[in-house]
Every structure is written in structure tokens, then in C-alpha cells.
């Protein structure tokens, strides 16, 4: 038997070698890495690989079971597609960052203990920040800084939770954690921040649209999906996740309807889809969690496909705003068709991937008799078609003709989009031959293709399309406006500036006052006192003695001047100083 190599190190170390190659050799090398990783993935069997003991802690770099295998599979597949899509990029930094990012994600998935998990979890942030920085615009720089700050905060909370958890349980193992006690809540929050929970989500919508055309393929995949993995592993069946997930599935669609930047629309719909997965984790039955895992797989592919299509538009036109685009289908028909396939998949049209995966979560919610949740998720399903399924292709490729005439996307982008599109159709049409065998939890085999289910979903979607059409024709549909819609990132973008001003005024005021009184005032006074004080004291004491010994006023003035000069310069005879010291010590002794 061949010993498999750790896939995460194939990416991390392979990424370091990228600068050694140029041109097509580099592309070939970069494509070889995911192929090699996938080959080693195929060699893995359930069990434990690559362990080490450092400082008395057992580190497990390869915990392999059904749950880690399905995530490994899709992460390696999307890295392969992303590399193809991005292979025209010359900058080495972008490729290196992509491998750092995806290698860290594989490390998180394979980590069997919380220490290894945390190290790779933090590396994810580093990789993602680098990927944002390579765009080299002022906005992407700002986005990278905000991204890093938010995730460092989340990382610190997670670290505190992990340390307390290890202290409490005496074990570094990463299994079910559960919400019992402070450590559980801290870890829960740390996972939730990366998972883009409501109010913790705006790092995602504010930063992803600032990344490069290809970088966003990786960004849309790794951070939120590793968080899904962590929740599946640590908090399966945690009931609060049902409501958190439902909130995630519903509120972003309102934002998506009025958002102008198409990549930001997709970022909101990313949260919406992750919401479905979180609901599945919260329900916690085998069927529900299989639904979450299946939806992770299909979501990574269709979301990447949509981001790649809009990215190709960005690459060719330099624009991503609905107000500036439109009528591109004649120029970029292949990209347009891929975008429509991605849109059909995210909307869960029968024969497309979302249908095979999202339905499992819906069925699990129905089986659990979660009536309100089910109705809200159904609303979110209709809404996602509305804002992502129709809006993205419509405003980019159809709508009014923007007059932009460009070339079709480069061949490498077309290959990548074509592969992702094929995968979306294959998963949707043949789920039993593609993703269902990979599902990790015990549950009866799910049958998405029943007459009533296909009918129900089709009716839901075509009548959503009817609503869109009628609203558009009647002029009620909100026209796209160049604007910014404030979200919870306001707290640290404008609110941050507000706090900055308050603290600037108050703390700097205190500082100035302290300078005036202490540095300029008190210190000077002390220095003057230290120099002249003893002399004045000595004069004060001696003037009485001089008066008693019958010195004339003139003599006293003369003596006073001499004492002042001697004491201020410290030029007293040594004997006299010693005598004073002895007297002082004697007084102290008797007191």
C-alpha cells in the first residue's frame, strides 16, 4: 500500500515553489498540485494519519472520515477549477496566496485536534488577506485591513474558547463541543464569525467584491465552508442554529434586490445559501446534516460558477455594476450561458445541482414539523431565484444594451466555467451517481425526483419569474441606482470613525491637559524645588542662628548668598554633608 501524502502540505509547500516557474510550465505545475492532492485523497481511508507530539500535545494532521472526505473532495476540485480560471494571471503572489488559502482550508478539514485546527484556521485569514491585497487598489487594501482585523478578533475569541475547553476537558481532541459553558459559547462565536452569521456577516459582503476576478472563486469557497465544517463537527443539532440559519437565508435577499454591484449581490446570496446549510446543521438529523454537506458541495460549484461569470465580465469590461452593464450576451455568449446554468443551479431548478441538495434540507425541516422555518426557507428559495437566478444574468447579459462590445472571456476562463457548469448539471441530474454516495451521515437515501417535488419546485420558480417580469414591465421593480447600502459594517466603518473622533477628543484632551500640568508644570516645579529648595530651607533655618549670633544685616546677606550658591551647586564641604546625613539618620533612628 502506498502511504498517502498530506494534501494540505501538497498545496502549502507546492505553493512556495510557484515562483520557480514561468509561463506554461508554471500553469502545468499549478494544475499538477490539485491532481496530486486528489490522487492522495483517493488513497485515504477512514482513520488517523500524520500525527506528531509537540510540547506534550498530540497533534493530528489527518483525521479522515466521511465528513472530512466530502469537504476534501470539493475543496480540491474547486482549487483545480480556480487555478484554470486564474492561470492567465502573471503575478506570482496571487497564485501563491490561492494555494496558501486552499492548503489552509484542507488543513482545517483534516485537523483532528483543536490546536492544529486553530493554526490552519488562522492561516486561512492570512491567505484570504493576501488574496485581497494582490488587487493593489486603495479599496482592496482597506478591505484587506478590515478583513484581517475582524478575523483576528474572531480568532482571538476562538483561541480563548479553545484554551478554556482544553483546560476544562483535559483533551485537545476536536469532536462535538456543544453549548455548555463559556468555552462552548466562545468557540461557537468564533465559528459563527467565519460563517457570516447575521451582524457578523458584513466582513463578507464588504470585502469579497473588492477581490480580483479570480481570487473571489477561492474566497467564496473556503472561509464560510470551513466554518460550516467546524459547526457540523462541533455543534451538530444545536437548536439555535436553526434560527440563525433561517435569518441568514432570509435577510440578505432584501439587500440583494436593491444592490447595484453584481458581485455584492452574489456575496449576499452566498450568505443566503450558507443559511440553508446552517439550518441543516441545527436540525441535526442524519438527513438534515447530509443535506448541509450536499449543499456545501453544490453551492461551492454554482457560486464559483456565478462569480467566475461575473468575474469574466469584470475582466473584459472592468465593470461589475448593474447600472453600467447590460446587453453583453452578444459579446460573451459562452459566459452568458454559464451564468444562466449557475443561476439555474442556485435557484434549484430541477436537473440543476441546487435541486438535488437544497431539497434535502427542506425535506428535513418538513419532517421535523418546523412549520415557520419551512415557510421562511420556502420564501428564501423563491427570493434567491429572484435576486440571484434572474437578476445576475439579466442585468449583466440582457436588460438595456450598455453599448459595451468586448471579446468573449479568455479560453482558460471558458474551460473553468465550462467544467463548473458541467459539474452543476451532473450533480443535479445524477445526484445518486455523484454527490449522494459521498454523504457522511446515516440516513435513508433521498429521492429528489418525485413528480410532486418537481412540480412544486417548478411552479414556485416560474411564478417567481412571472412576478419579476410583471414588476419589471410595470416599472415597480427598483431601478438600479449607483449607491451604497449601509449594513452592519457601518459599525466599524462609520461608527469606528465616530468612536475615533470621540476618543481622539477625549483621550487627546486628557493627554494635552496632562502634558500641561505634569510634564510642563509639575516637573518644572519639582526641578526648581530640587535645586533651590534645600538652599531656601537652609537659609530659613540659618537666618535665626545668624540673628542670635549677632551678625549684621550686611553679613547675613553675604552669608545667605554664599549658602545659596554652595547648595544650588551642591558644593558643600564633604564633612558638612556627612554631618547633616548623620544628624538625619540619627533623627530617623530615634523616631
Amino acid at each position: 500500500m502506498i502511504n498517502p501524502l498530506p494534501p494540505q502540505f501538497i498545496f502549502l509547500l507546492g505553493g512556495l515553489l510557484i515562483p520557480l516557474f514561468r509561463g506554461w510550465v508554471r500553469t502545468a505545475f499549478m494544475l499538477f498540485l490539485p491532481v496530486l492532492a486528489f490522487y492522495n485523497y483517493l488513497l485515504l481511508e477512514e482513520g488517523t494519519y500524520w500525527t506528531a507530539t509537540i510540547l506534550g500535545f498530540d497533534l493530528i494532521l489527518g483525521r479522515v472520515d466521511g465528513l472530512s472526505l466530502i469537504f476534501l473532495n470539493v475543496f480540491i476540485v474547486i482549487t483545480f477549477i480556480g487555478i484554470i480560471y486564474n492561470s492567465h494571471v502573471r503575478g506570482r503572489m496571487e497564485h501563491f496566496s490561492a494555494f496558501l488559502y486552499s492548503g489552509s482550508a484542507l488543513g482545517v478539514i483534516l485537523a483532528g485536534d483543536l490546536i492544529t485546527f486553530f493554526v490552519f484556521w488562522e492561516l486561512l485569514t492570512v491567505g484570504a488577506s493576501f488574496l485581497l491585497l494582490v488587487r493593489k487598489t486603495a479599496r482592496s487594501l482597506g478591505a484587506a485591513v478590515r478583513y484581517t482585523l475582524v478575523h483576528v478578533l474572531g480568532g482571538l475569541v476562538l483561541l480563548a474558547g479553545i484554551l478554556l475547553h482544553i483546560h476544562q476537558t483535559g483533551s485537545t481532541g476536536f469532536g462535538q463541543i456543544g453549548l455548555n459553558g463559556l468555552p462552548g459559547y466562545l468557540i461557537f462565536f468564533g465559528f459563527g464569525l467565519n460563517c457570516a452569521w447575521p451582524f457578523l456577516h458584513s466582513w463578507l459582503t464588504a470585502t469579497y467584491p473588492e477581490s480580483t476576478a479570480g481570487g473571489i472563486v477561492f474566497m467564496a469557497t473556503f472561509t464560510t465552508k470551513t466554518a460550516n465544517y467546524a459547526l457540523l463537527r462541533g455543534f451538530p443539532g444545536e437548536p439555535s442554529l436553526i434560527w440563525i440559519g433561517t435569518a441568514m437565508a432570509t435577510f440578505p435577499i432584501f439587500y440583494a434586490v436593491i444592490e447595484n454591484d453584481l458581485r455584492k449581490v452574489l456575496a449576499y446570496s452566498l450568505i443566503n445559501q450558507v443559511g440553508f446549510m446552517v439550518v441543516g446543521i441545527g436540525i441535526g438529523t442524519g438527513l438534515a446534516m447530509n443535506g448541509s454537506a450536499a449543499h456545501v458541495y453544490s453551492d461551492i460549484l454554482f457560486k464559483a460558477l456565478l462569480f467566475m461569470a461575473v468575474g469574466a465580465v469584470l475582466y473584459r469590461t472592468g465593470k461589475t455594476k448593474a447600472t453600467e452593464l447590460g446587453g453583453l450576451f452578444r459579446s460573451m455568449p459562452f459566459t452568458g450561458v454559464c451564468c444562466i446554468i449557475g443561476a439555474a443551479s442556485i435557484s434549484a431548478f430541477p436537473l440543476f445541482s441546487g435541486f438535488a441538495s437544497k431539497s434535502i434540507i427542506m425535506s428535513a425541516a418538513a419532517e421535523g414539523h418546523l412549520t415557520v422555518i419551512w415557510l421562511l426557507l420556502l420564501f428564501a428559495s423563491a427570493g434567491v431565484f429572484h435576486h440571484a437566478g434572474i437578476k445576475i444574468p439579466f442585468f449583466a447579459f440582457f436588460s438595456h444594451d450598455s453599448g459595451i462590445r468586448v471579446k468573449e472571456a479568455p479560453w482558460n476562463m471558458r474551460i473553468a466555467m465550462g467544467l463548473a457548469a458541467l459539474a452543476c448539471i451532473a450533480i443535479g441530474t445524477f445526484p445518486h451517481q455523484t454527490i449522494y454516495p459521498l454523504l457522511p451521515f446515516e440516513a435513508p437515501v433521498y429521492q429528489p425526483y418525485t413528480f410532486s417535488h418537481v412540480m412544486a419546485q417548478s411552479l414556485l420558480l416560474i411564478f417567481s419569474a412571472l412576478a419579476f417580469t410583471l414588476l419589471l414591465l410595470s416599472g415597480i421593480y427598483p431601478s438600479e441606482i449607483r449607491s451604497v447600502n449601509i449594513d452592519s459594517d457601518w459599525l466599524y466603518r462609520r461608527g469606528g470613525a465616530f468612536f475615533y473622533r470621540i476618543f481622539d477628543r477625549s483621550l487627546n484632551g486628557i493627554n494635552a491637559m496632562a502634558h500641561k500640568t505634569v510634564v510642563a508644570g509639575l516637573t518644572g516645579a519639582l526641578a526648581r524645588f530640587a535645586a533651590a529648595g534645600p538652599a531656601r530651607l537652609a537659609n530659613f533655618l540659618l537666618s535665626g542662628y545668624w540673628a542670635l549670633t549677632g551678625k549684621t544685616a550686611q553679613q547675613r546677606d553675604h552669608l545667605r548668598t554664599a549658602v545659596m550658591i554652595n547648595l544650588e551647586k551642591g558644593a558643600l564641604p564633604v564633612g558638612l554633608a556627612a554631618l547633616v546625613a548623620v544628624v538625619v539618620l540619627g533623627v530617623l533612628f530615634f523616631i
Partner: protein
């Protein structure tokens, strides 16, 4: 401006196809009503004819109206708000 007569031919065809699909879908839902009862619908309303059609339509209209008339006035700012 939104008048259908100004729209290109292809768009008109798409709109007609959509209307046709809606009517057909709705009819099939009624005609095969009986076949739905043997499927294990969990909620009662899943068996109501046209439930999904009406839900999809109403949900989307509500979504757009709330987004346009409630959310947008609350959150929309100039494009350079943060700059």
C-alpha cells in the same frame, strides 16, 4: 419606457413562453391533483392546488416591495459614503 412594444422580438418571445409555462404549470397542478395525495406531503397546504405558484408569486412581490419601499429608504447612501 417599460412598454413591451419597445422590446426586441426575442424578449417578447421569452415573455410569451413564460406566460405559457405559468398557465401550463398551473393546469398540470390541477389535473394531476389526485396524484399528489399519494406523495407524503408533510404539511396540509402542500396539497392545495396552486399553493407553490401563489406562494412563489406573492413571496417575490412582497420581497421587492419591502426591499424597495422599506429597506432602501433606510440604508441607501451615496456611492462615496465611506470614502
Amino acid at each position: 419606457m417599460s412598454d413591451a412594444s419597445h422590446r426586441p422580438k426575442a424578449a417578447k418571445i421569452v415573455i410569451k413562453l413564460l406566460f405559457a409555462a405559468c398557465v401550463t404549470g398551473f393546469l398540470i397542478d390541477f389535473l394531476f391533483l389526485s396524484s399528489r395525495f399519494d406523495k407524503h406531503a408533510v404539511f396540509e397546504w402542500e396539497n392545495w392546488p396552486g399553493f407553490y405558484a401563489v406562494f412563489g408569486f406573492v413571496a417575490c412581490v412582497a420581497l421587492v416591495l419591502v426591499a424597495k419601499y422599506v429597506l432602501r429608504p433606510l440604508v441607501m447612501r451615496d456611492e462615496d459614503y465611506y470614502d
